[in-house]
């Protein structure tokens, strides 16, 4: 659990740090904390609140949600190294919509909101670039979600079963009376 376990060079491979200089990566690393998790350990719990941005350095974790009807857990997706999570709560505090659970032994980098604000106050370029990159990712996800909604909307008439009225009509017509 020391910063030394993650090198500056390793961090530059993370897309969230695109366009970072070595110096900016060092700034970020100075406020980040490196944490290890064992398989099955919960990183974030659904419905709880925290404001941290997480970067996967090594290993795989699962995004898990409890199903409303049955109470069973459903795995929504997996995150691998160089991906990040927690940015929604990081920028807009709200209970987590799903849990994150380690699937394999993991190494994660945690950036706390309070520490990040220190970078902002000091007007570090790293704070600005991190926000910019995170927002780009969020914007892309929002656009994909919007497109999917539009698809669902236009696909609905096709997906609907034929009406009772038209079924009846077909059946009556079939007798050719």
């Amino acid at each position: 659990m020391t910063n030394a376990t993650v090198s500056c060079k390793r961090l530059l491979a993370v897309p969230l740090l695109a366009n970072f200089t070595d110096e900016e990566a060092e700034q970020l690393l100075s406020i980040a904390e490196s944490l290890d998790f064992q398989p099955g350990q919960i990183v974030l719990a659904e419905d709880e609140q925290s404001s941290n941005l997480w970067i996967v350095i090594d290993g795989t974790c699962e995004i898990v949600k409890e199903s409303d009807q049955t109470g069973r857990q459903v795995v929504l997706s997996e995150l691998r190294s160089n991906q990040h999570f927690g940015e929604m709560s990081f920028f807009h505090p709200a209970p987590h919509s799903a849990s994150v659970r380690a699937k394999t032994p993991m190494k994660l980098l945690r950036i706390g909101r309070g520490d990040y604000e220190k970078l902002v106050t000091e007007q570090c370029a790293s704070a600005f670039k991190l926000a910019f990159n995170a927002i780009s990712g969020l914007a892309e996800r929002l656009r994909r979600a919007t497109d999917r909604l539009a698809d669902l909307d236009s696909a609905e008439p096709l997906a609907k079963p034929p009406s009772e009225w038209s079924t009846f009509r077909t059946k009556v017509d079939a007798w050719n009376l």
């Binding site: 009772e164 009225w165 079924t167 009846f168 009509r169 059946k171 009556v172 007798w175 009376l177």
Partner: protein, 411 residues
């Protein structure tokens, strides 16, 4: 079993084959409108009697609703609803542009004077004239009513709505009635009997027929069949049944009834038997043309006739129908067999609206065409699908009403 439940058995049997959903069956089954009215009348003896009248308008997808007006003590809402439903399928089977309706008053007409019957009829019109009419619902004679009641009906309706001869059918020929209307149901039965035995490769002269009932239907059916060379060996009325193995002289029987207040009692050159014996007689064709429910699970096993033509409405109970079907007795169902009446009622209505009298030969010719075409369609479907004539007729009726309903929409 109540009358409506019985008709729904046949409806559902056809609907099962047509694979119709419960919701669509409900749409096709539930009456469009059901009316119960009070008919208060001062009787000849000064008493005030209050009778109950009904009009059930079942379905109007194919046109104005049409159906008889029955005066009988057993009339109730269930029976009227059942008969109204039958009218919907019947008008569709013979493909005339009408829906189905039925009405009735729970009285025994034989216990009322003509003055009382006139008052009852006029009072009934007072109560329902707003919801009937030439383009809405057109009553006609049925059990216990005839041309005289229709004349009173017309006269009372016209007091409200002005000249409207097409508001009711079965009127006296002298008062916008149609020649050939009185004989129509019986004649239709006769036409169908001829068609059916021809299909089976039989000759009329070798076909023995027993007819139960010698009234508006049975007497005209007997006359037509005798003229067409059939051997009518048994006839009956309330006085009993009359049998002659070599064939009864029907014109003599008609004359006898005319001269004896409509009753066959004392008919010469015949052997008197019971009505039960007539039903079970060794004949080729049995025509129940009187009451409903005369062939039951009790007497069905003893019925010998291989062909039964339902001239009355519902003369065979559903249980007996199943037994006869298993024995391969050919049953020509009521909704086709007695549709000649409503068909000529339609011709009367058309003539009223055309202000043109067709004359008896055109009426008979058109009746022959309608009955023949309807029979052929029912027969073909029954052969194609391997179903009874009754189920075939119901499928045609339901299918045509269903098609009109879908085309018109419900919005």
């Amino acid at each position: 079993m109540k009358a409506y439940e019985a008709t729904q058995i046949y409806f559902n049997r056809a609907a099962d084959l047509m694979d119709l959903s419960d919701n669509m069956r409900r749409l096709l089954s539930i009456s469009s409108r059901e009316i119960q009215v009070q008919i208060p009348v001062e009787l000849d003896n000064g008493e005030i009697a209050t009778f109950v009248g009904y009009r059930v308008q079942h379905d109007d997808a194919r046109g104005p609703m049409k159906g008889g007006l029955r005066y009988h003590p057993a009339v109730d809402l269930d029976e009227v609803r059942a008969l109204a439903t039958l009218m919907t399928w019947k008008t569709a089977v013979v493909n005339i542009p009408y829906g189905g309706a039925k009405g009735g008053v729970a009285i025994d007409p034989r216990t009322h004077s003509p003055r009382e019957l006139e008052l009852i009829t006029r009072k009934f019109v007072d109560q329902i004239h707003d919801v009937i009419g030439p383009d809405t619902d057109i009553p006609a004679p049925d059990m216990g009513t005839g041309a005289q009641e229709m004349a009173w009906f017309l006269n009372q309706y016209e007091k409200y709505h002005g000249y409207s001869p097409a508001c009711v059918t079965g009127k006296p020929v002298e008062l916008h009635g149609a020649e050939g209307r009185e004989e129509a149901t019986g004649r239709g039965v006769g036409i169908l009997a001829f068609k059916l035995i021809s299909r089976l490769g039989r000759k009329p002269a070798k076909t023995r027929v027993a007819i139960q009932g010698f009234g508006n239907v049975g007497s005209f059916a007997a006359a037509f069949l005798a003229e067409s060379d059939f051997k009518v060996v048994a006839i009956s009325d309330i006085s009993g049944a009359y049998f002659r193995a070599e064939g009864i002289d029907i014109s003599a029987a008609l004359r006898h009834a005319r001269e004896n207040r409509g009753v066959l009692e004392g008919l010469a050159a015949t052997e008197k038997i019971t009505n039960a014996e007539l039903l079970e007689a060794d004949v080729d064709v049995l025509i129940p043309a009187a009451l409903g429910g005369v062939i039951t699970e009790e007497n069905a096993p003893r019925i010998k006739a291989p062909i039964i033509i339902e001239a009355a409405n519902g003369p065979i109970t559903p249980g007996a129908d199943a037994m006869l079907h298993d024995r391969e007795t050919l049953v020509l169902p009521d909704i086709l067999a007695n549709a000649g009446g409503v068909t000529v009622s339609y011709f009367e209505w058309v003539q009223n609206r055309q202000h043109y009298n067709w004359g008896i030969s055109r009426v008979r010719q058109e009746l022959d065409r309608v009955m023949s075409e309807s029979f052929e369609r029912v027969w073909e479907l029954s052969q194609e699908r391997g179903v009874s004539l009754r189920t075939a007729a119901y499928i045609i009726g339901i299918g045509r009403v269903g098609r009109a309903t879908v085309l018109g929409g419900i919005r």
